[in-house]
């Protein structure tokens, strides 16, 4: 009998699909049908959903195509082509039922992607799109846990609320692992490049990052900022501290932070509208 941790790893290896927001799928189909729509429009839509993004990246990095390190959604779409994306959107495995908590997590991830983009641009870092993608994917481990170990996920949420501990701590007690590690496993198993997996793995332990320190620090900060803004719901009631290592690596002043927060507040209003629009697409 293997440990719970081994069991989850087994689940990840067998996971080829995860639920995505049906509204995104509907809109993607509409874009794919329209001959005039551009790769950029499709990329923007795909990037609004952490699971669809992960699927697209998994596909383009899968051994059958023979590409080894595609890390942006727009390049993935260029290489896969419209037909493949259309089929991906249509394939029924991604039509699944959504619950309130997933909408919260989806908004949180989307918000983190936006925040990471603002931070990276503000600090004039290279590879802004990769950083946003990594931030978009940072909590994908939670989706796995919620979808594939629903009972454990409920227990974890209870513990977070009842005992006032962090989600990470509750996950470790129940599962002997946490969403950061689970996320890293998934990202590895889906052949996504290292520059995406390390920020996912280390977004709660910035000092643990070896190769992509800046990306990891940005994803960490983005996560904290979105949590503190109250936008979306990551499953976590408390806002963690910004880790000193991240602060140090980013070399930011408090003025930088103030400017970033201000821009973020504005953008999150837009994101909220977008989110409502996506959700209402299901009802039409």
């Amino acid at each position: 009998m293997g440990s719970k941790r081994d069991h989850i790893f087994e689940i990840i290896r067998e996971t080829s699909s995860l639920p995505t927001l049906p509204g995104v799928v509907t809109r993607l189909q509409a874009l794919a049908e329209n001959r005039k729509s551009t790769i950029e429009e499709m990329a923007r839509l795909v990037s609004s959903d952490q699971i669809l993004s992960a699927r697209v990246l998994r596909l383009v990095n899968s051994p059958s195509y023979g590409f080894y390190r595609v890390s942006t959604i727009s390049n993935a779409l260029i290489l896969l082509g419209v037909n493949v994306i259309k089929s991906l959107a249509l394939s029924s495995s991604i039509f699944e039922i959504m619950e309130k908590t997933i909408v919260g997590l989806w908004e949180h991830s989307l918000g983190a992607g936006v925040a990471a983009n603002i931070i990276a641009r503000h600090l004039k870092l290279p590879e802004v799109e990769e950083i946003s993608t990594a931030a978009l994917l940072h909590d994908i481990g939670k989706v796995i846990i919620k979808e594939k170990c629903a009972e454990d996920y409920a227990r974890i949420c209870n513990m977070v609320e009842r005992d006032g501990i962090s989600m990470l701590e509750a996950e470790r007690q129940v599962l002997e692992t946490d969403h950061a590690e689970v996320g890293e496993w998934l990202v590895h198993n889906w052949y996504l490049p290292n520059k995406l997996s390390e920020p996912v793995a280390c977004h709660h332990d910035v000092a643990g990052a070896q190769h992509h320190k800046m990306k990891t620090a940005v994803v960490h900060l983005a996560d904290v900022l979105v949590k503190s803004s109250g936008f979306g719901f990551s499953g976590e009631v408390y806002v963690p501290r910004i880790q000193p290592t991240a602060w140090e690596w980013l070399g930011m002043t408090e003025d930088d932070l103030a400017a970033i927060v201000e821009e973020l507040e504005d953008r999150l209003v837009e994101v909220k509208n977008f989110s409502l629009e996506i959700q209402s697409a299901d009802e039409n």
Binding site: S16, L59, S62, G66, L79, S87, L88, S93
Partner: protein, 305 residues
């Protein structure tokens, strides 16, 4: 022939009785049965099988769509698609409508089925002159496509990569091959959107595509833009800012090599001087020198009368 073939069996919504799966597994094949046709393409795209079996007892538009999508995509067209057709229906079957590679009759004779699976794999390997690296059609198909376009308002476009050899030397063959696969995919995707079109791989970093002449420039621009975007991911930030990387020539001298781009020469097929196939390559060779004279990506159209 490998015994651990991966097979997808597409059945109707009622599914099969499971015996097909069992018999194939007993041969050591890995089988996935999909009974929800709309999800099939997503499945195949994300994890391409070696062979596809399709139940055609009650064919419909979705099933037909699956066969067409497979056969229309150069990347997947090398996967044999075998139809399972009721004995009484086989003779009158519309093979034009259903571009299958082979068929077996229902009720299934399993020994027959096993043989057809192996045979269709061998035959496809024999018949296709596709480039093994990019899976794009090779020279026989290219020549046929060009001959077909002569005299028509079509553009035959030759593509090659600037400074590909140096990239290969510096970063290694595996990465060079990746670039070729990327360009092949980009050309095929861009061309597909142009409707009546063809894409082929001559070999090395030489590609050909054929599109209606009025679209040749737009398609060339798209290929250049997409290649530039994708290739930027292969170089480090530092190299991108500098715009070159360092290589060594045969004498060991240091050389600054610009980042890769593509050069495209467009030869209009309705020009009076294009009488036959050989002339096309000649005009293209001339144009290529022009396109190559700038080290950046660009296309050149032959407008000389």
């Amino acid at each position: 022939m490998r015994t651990n073939l991966r097979i997808i069996a597409v059945t109707g919504p009622n599914g099969g009785d499971g015996s097909l799966e069992l018999r194939l597994q007993s041969k050591g094949y890995q089988v996935v049965t999909l009974d929800n046709p709309p999800s099939v393409m997503g499945f195949i795209y994300s994890d391409p099988p070696d062979v596809v079996l399709i139940d055609l007892a009650t064919p419909d538009q979705t099933i037909l769509g699956i066969i067409r999508s497979l056969k229309d995509d150069f990347f997947f067209s090398t996967i044999p698609v075998i139809g399972m057709i009721p004995e009484w229906a086989a003779e009158g079957f519309d093979w034009e409508e259903y571009p299958l590679d082979d068929f077996v009759t229902i009720p299934l004779n399993y020994r027959d089925l096993f043989t057809r699976i192996v045979l269709s794999l061998r035959r496809l390997r024999r018949v296709f002159d596709n480039n093994p690296l990019t899976r794009l059609p090779g020279n026989t198909s290219i020549q046929r496509a060009i001959e077909h376009a002569v005299g028509k308002p079509m553009g035959v476009c030759y593509v090659d990569i600037n400074h590909f050899k140096q990239y290969n030397d510096v970063y290694g063959f595996a990465h060079g091959d990746e670039v070729l696969r990327m360009l092949g995919r980009i050309i095929a995707n861009s061309v597909k959107e142009a409707g009546d079109a063809f894409a082929g791989h001559i070999g090395g970093d030489d590609f050909v595509f054929i599109v209606p002449l009025e679209q040749a420039e737009a398609v060339s621009e798209r290929i250049i833009a997409n290649f530039t975007a994708v290739v930027s991911e292969l170089f480090s930030e530092e190299e991108k800012v500098r715009g070159f990387y360092v290589a060594h020539d045969r004498k060991g001298n240091e050389e600054q090599v610009p980042l890769m781009g593509v050069a495209i020469s467009i030869v209009p097929m309705n020009s009076p001087k294009i009488g036959h196939y050989a002339k096309v390559a000649e005009v293209a060779a001339d144009l290529k020198k022009l396109a190559k004279s700038s080290h950046k990506s660009c296309y050149v159209m032959d407008r000389r009368k």
